[in-house]
């Protein structure tokens, strides 16, 4: 990574105010021929000048490491955990982390002790399904006086996934099972029979989350009701009647979530992609990944 090696220094908005004050001082000093005002002027100028190397070095040996962001559904938020590491032997202060291409939220880190790291989580909206690059991260600092800003750019090569936004009919397709070994299935309704709990699958309806358990400090779990259907669900892209591919993907995502929630094995067929029936988190993410990377009829992006 070549970026992050060189720091850029440029004036901040406050610098304009400083220039105005210095100009006023210079005008007063030269028109009054007053050494006292000159001393004030030069004092302020000198402190400003000396603060430049301080600001510049405030990011020396400070680097960042991005961790992998969890996949998010379109319309939700992506959380990107970033570790800002201070490898120097001095405390670094007043550091800000910005991701300008993704909303530009500024994260402030007031100080990082020598040899320590600070973790911040950047949050930005997941707009479109697919695999996206993180983009250029900017570390900036205006410590100690705030008249100049030092900037270091980092361009991590990592990417994050955005799953299609689940929408459409939540009822699983019942009569489309074409596989010969599939048995007739009962409707997965919102029945009264409590059928146990399992881990919450991101994206699914929050209606069945066991909030009491959450209140007790447990992770998100979903209560399951009704009888589990036995047969597997076959989800086929080309069998959907919608005209718009995105709409089809959204419907498929919805069904994947619902099938995973109901613990029913499901298979997914996209043009050029065929995923055999299974159930479980790995399978769920595999299907979702296929859906999010879908690149039209000609096939998924390599």
């Amino acid at each position: 990574m070549k970026t992050g090696k060189f720091a850029l220094v440029y004036p901040t908005g406050n610098f304009a105010a400083l220039l105005f004050v210095l100009a006023a001082m210079w005008y007063a000093a030269s028109s009054q021929n007053s050494p006292a005002i000159y001393l004030l002027l030069f004092g302020l100028t000198a402190v400003f000048l000396v603060s430049i190397p301080h600001t510049l070095l405030n990011l020396a040996d400070v680097t960042i490491a991005t961790e992998s962001a969890k996949p998010a559904f379109a319309g939700q938020e992506v959380s990107l955990p970033v570790a800002i590491m201070n490898c120097s032997r001095a405390t670094r202060r007043g550091i800000q982390l910005v991701l300008p291409t993704r909303g530009g939220e500024r994260k402030h880190v007031d100080f990082i002790a020598a040899g320590k790291a600070a973790r911040v989580t950047l949050r930005f909206p997941a707009k479109q399904r697919g695999e996206h690059r993180i983009g250029t991260l900017r570390l900036t600092s205006i410590y100690p006086l705030g008249f100049v800003r030092v900037l270091k750019k980092f361009a991590p090569s990592q990417t994050y996934l955005v799953y299609p936004k689940p929408s459409g009919d939540p009822r699983l397709p019942m009569h489309r099972a074409r596989l010969p070994h599939s048995r007739p299935q009962t409707e997965l309704g919102e029945g009264d029979d409590f059928a146990g709990v399992r881990a919450y699958v991101p994206g699914e309806s929050q209606r069945h989350i066991d909030w009491r358990a959450v209140a007790r400090g447990q992770p998100l779990i979903t209560k399951q009701f009704a009888a589990e259907a036995e047969g597997s669900v076959h989800l086929d892209f080309s069998a959907l009647r919608f005209h718009d591919a995105e709409q089809r993907l959204s419907q498929l995502a919805m069904w994947v979530i619902e099938a995973e929630r109901a613990r029913r094995p499901y298979s997914l067929r996209l043009p050029n992609t065929d995923i055999a029936p299974a159930v479980g988190e790995a399978h769920f993410h595999r299907c979702m990944r296929a859906l999010s990377l879908f690149q039209g009829e000609e096939g998924p992006r390599p």
Binding site: S30, S88, R89
Partner: protein, 677 residues
Amino acid sequence: MRLSKSRSSRRTQQWKDTTIPRRPLLWLAAALLFTLPPMLGNLASWVAWFFLLALALKFWMEPRGYRLRSTILKLILACLMLGAIFLSYGTLKGIEPGVSLLAVLVSLKILEAHTAREFQMIVMMAWVLCLCGFLLSQDFAVAFCLFVASALLIAALVQFHRGSSPGAFWVPLVTTFKLLAQAAPVVVLLFLLFPRINTGLQLRIGDFHAAMTGFSDRLSPGGIATLANSSEIAFRAEFPDSRTGPAGPLYWRGVVMWRCEGMEWRGPYSPTSISDSSRRYPARDKAIRQRITIAPHGLRWMFALDRPFGIPSGAMLARGNYLYSVRPIRKPRRYEVLSSIEPIDKELDAYERRQALQLPASITPAVSELAASWATHDSEPRAIVKSALQFFRTQGFRYSVSPGEYNKNDLEEFLFHRRTGFCEHYAASFATLMRLAGIPARVVVGYLGGEYNDLGGFFLVRQADTHAWCEVWIPDHGWMRVDPTTAVAPDRAGLDLSSFLASRVASGEMATGRGALLTRLTRLALVNQIRSIWEALNYQWDTRVLGFDADVQDVFLTSLGLTKSGPLPLAMQVLIVIFVLLIIYAGWMQLRTRRRVDRIQALYERYCQKLARIGVRRDPCEGPVDFEKRATQSLPSASKYVRQITETYIALRYAPEPAVISVDKFAKEINAFTAHT
């Protein structure tokens, strides 16, 4: 102010939106307190009180989430303040109303500020307040406070950007001192060498007549005494031929007054130039050359020692042998002039004799009798002068800055009853008495003495050094200087006024009130020591800082030979030196804080960089052995070296017993690596 608490919680939430953290605000408040002292004596007192009130209110309002919100209220308050300023000064122009306005605006800003941006704005405004403080006063005490305020402002900024970093409250001061210590050489460099370009732009402060300083063309009783406390600079004088100038008291001639009105004397309305024919000039080597830098005083007086004769351009020599500028002096002016100690005029022409003997009608008989008695005793002019001085010396006359009020006809009152006066009383009465005794006489107003500045090698003459003396015509000699004040206060001529007065305080002559307290306090050793340190600093401030103005800097730069190339190249050179200094600072700080890398690790990283340049990039999570495998695959030609280097690296870094291979050998291997690829 809308300070009442709102009822609904939502509104309360909306009201409590202030975000200025407390600690930076404290530092800022401390800084603002230090900008107060110059305001106290110079502005209307309510301005300072309003300022203090705003600060105190802010600390009451801040935790409660109140602030000045309503725009209408802000406008009303601003208008009220504007009106109050107008009522206090009668004008809105000028420096005092201007500074008052700024102080009031800062106060209002403090009351309404609630964002980080506004905090920084107040900091910048506070710096402008510091500047205004210097416009009001440049005393050492004031300067001290203003520089403390400046440092506290830096601390406030540092604290602001530290955010919630842990540490005691004084930690930002450490950073501030570090910054100031590093800035000190830069300040010295800029102050000494950075060219001070005189823009010629005058800060027109108010009515110009108010800016007139020094004496006028009228010598009225009490006129000079009002200048006795003015530390304003009148002019600076250098003697290019002898550093410390001629021996003896320095009488700087300003204006010669011919017209006598008893205790009051006046100069000519429009001075006439005198011809050169009847004058004998001294040889050039006997003349005293002076280089004078005059501070703008709005009038036309120009000053020179004793009897000037080398007339600078833009000036003329007026009747009475004094310099008179063609134009009013409204900006600093520098000129060279020659002076003679010996009298220049050979004879007194009829017109001048008539002028020098003119007397007002209001002279009382007692005064005329006094003068006549000297003349009848001995008609020789020198003897008359002698007996007049004898009269002043022996008849219980006292020298005082505040002798009380006199009218222009109070000559008798002064000579026979009160017998207390300042130099102008003595000069006026003496000259009048001389004329009554038949000796042509005139009054000279100018300056006496001056403070020698060691650093700049010049005499600094202040308004407080204003003095009046007489000249009498002695037929075979010419105009002779007689200073009747020396008859009353003999030490006065040798000293400048302030040290003269100070010496009188020390000797207990004026030990009343403050003076008595001072003498009592001086008995305490510690107080004495602090006072002497303070005095020394004060002196340094006056001479080294206030004395080092553009003209002195010019002399200083010339003595260093730096003025040849002009101001712009010099400024560039100074900036380059500062730039180098900053690079040195940066390098030093970098050395102190940079990451310590193990040498073996650094060498290995360099090897990885070399490989990366040819396209074999190591993953951060790839082990050296895996990387070696990949590298040998993609670079079969270099496989031997890659293997060797990796083996050495592993041996050096991970071997359980101390490695037998030296690090230097490893370094050599890595340095050599480029050669074969």
